[in-house]
Amino acid sequence: MTPKISFRDVVKSFPVKGGSFTALNGASLDIADEEFVTVVGPSGCGKSTLLSMAAGLVEPTAGEVLVDGEHVRGPGPDRGVIFQQYALFPWLTVRKNVEFGLRLADLPPGERTRRAEHAIELVGLTEFADALPKTLSGGMKQRCAIARAYAVDPAVLLMDEPFGALDALTRVQLQDQLLRTWSQDRRTVLFITHDVDEAVYLARRVVVMAARPGRIHTVIDVDLPYPRTEEIRLSPEFGRIRNEVWHSVYHQAAPLPT
């Protein structure tokens, strides 16, 4: 079966003064349809670059990125992206933000309203549909951004440290909400994070990356059943996997001198 997302020997380097900087040095990874994969690693390991390439915002220097077996050529509404900085259009209300992608898809107004309302309800922002982003808290902004991505019904969700700027409690609530929605719609999710607990709690597989040069260090299976609950979060098995991931993230071989 064709993987949903496939990275094949992907290299990304940027020209810098007197040479080039390698952000990603030959990464290969297959993500199956309906799979939830998290990527964790130290800063500078190229995890965001990996996601940007799947999104079509960044082109690989070498290697190929495939979605449904096809080369990624630029961004498209089949892949929804959630950014850490929310990236809401501050001059639009929550509803207009969510409708942004639907307008581009040329949907009839009735269908547009219906889908926007559904997405807003899904993230629990119905009461705030006509509010401007500046009046929302960080967690509500990110829920609005998630609703905006859901509204166009992408097959793939690419999430770039989406909960990184939120407080611990809000983060856990959004994790549970994300898993609940995922258990119903089973979109393929590629989720970048620097939080080991978050990586293990959400994913079926955790990809651990290493820095200098950025590369995939190891892939760890998370053999915990869904739905994930508080009980699982506190179980010894969760702790064991968490320790394993933690170990491979923070006790990697010393980085190569640069």
């Binding site: 961004p75 990236a87 581009l104 899904l122 009046t135 929302l136 808290s137 951004a145 609530q173 929605t181």
Partner: protein, 270 residues
């Protein structure tokens, strides 16, 4: 349906409304006190100090005369017409040119040398050239004001486009927006605050160029009236002209500031 109702506090701080809305009464009282003290100092100077300096009452009297015979209204209208015409034309050209420079590197490469070069020349220095090339009618005056407004606004519009948050552009792209849509739906609204600031600077600059522009053989206008008054050593009329220019400039600036606040009320207050 999995709806979570999380009791989250909204980010609206109680202080924000007061900062952006009504000014505290104390500040207003201080402003009024400052004006009164200034008037008192002016009266004192005219009585005991500077030879020939008219006091506030003399100036008010002259203002009354100039209003009564319609001179002030004619002059104000003539000046406002020139400034607004020059300002509107200048801004109307500056916004598309600034957008072009911000969006297309080719346009930037071609236009930037000219914009940066002419920006360093005070518009007043163009006056001799404008007279020789455009004659002594309304055209050279409006042209100089136009140039002043254009050069201030074009840089702001350009900077506004360059400074648009890349993440917002990416957010639109991943939702399937074309370059044209991104420009109209993201770049234009996102750079609006910059453009409004540029327009305010442009208006100030246009207003400042006015008096000098009216020295070019004008028949009416605040600058012309002051120039005439200078010939007859008519200080009260000069004061009326100065105060009119100040009050009108302040009024236009506040108007633009107010309109700008309304248009960009979505901005986060930092």
């Amino acid at each position: 349906m999995s709806v979570v109702s999380v009791p989250e506090q909204t980010a609206a701080q109680p202080g924000a409304a007061r900062r952006t809305g009504r000014r505290p009464v104390r500040t207003l009282a201080l402003n009024i006190a400052a004006v009164l003290i200034g008037l008192a100092a002016w009266s004192l100077l005219s009585v005991v100090g500077v030879q020939g300096l008219p006091g506030p009452l003399t100036v008010a009297e002259r203002a009354g005369e100039l209003i009564a015979d319609g001179t002030l209204a004619t002059d104000v209208l003539a000046s406002l017409r020139r400034v607004l015409l020059g300002f509107v034309l200048g801004t109307a050209l500056a916004v598309p040119v600034g957008f072009l420079m911000g969006w297309y590197t080719t346009a930037r490469g071609l236009l930037e040398p000219y914009v940066q070069f002419f920006r360093t020349i005070p518009p007043l220095a163009i006056i001799p050239l404008a007279i020789v090339l455009l004659g002594i009618g309304e055209v050279p005056k409006v042209f100089v004001i136009f140039l002043a407004a254009f050069l201030s606004s074009v840089v702001a519009a350009f900077q506004g486009v360059v400074d648009v948050d890349r993440t917002l552009i990416n957010a639109a792209r991943v939702l399937g927006a074309s370059d044209r849509t991104i420009f109209a739906k993201v770049v234009v609204p996102a750079s609006l605050p910059f453009i409004l600031v540029g327009m305010r600077i442009g208006l100030g600059s246009a207003w400042g160029t006015l008096v000098a522009a009216e020295l070019i053989a004008a028949q009416e206008g605040l600058g012309f009236r002051m120039q005439q008054a200078q010939l007859y050593y008519d200080l009260p009329t000069i004061f009326v002209g100065l105060i009119s220019i100040g009050v009108l400039g302040l009024a236009m600036d506040r108007l633009l500031l107010f309109a700008g606040r309304r248009l960009t009320s979505w901005q986060e207050t930092r």
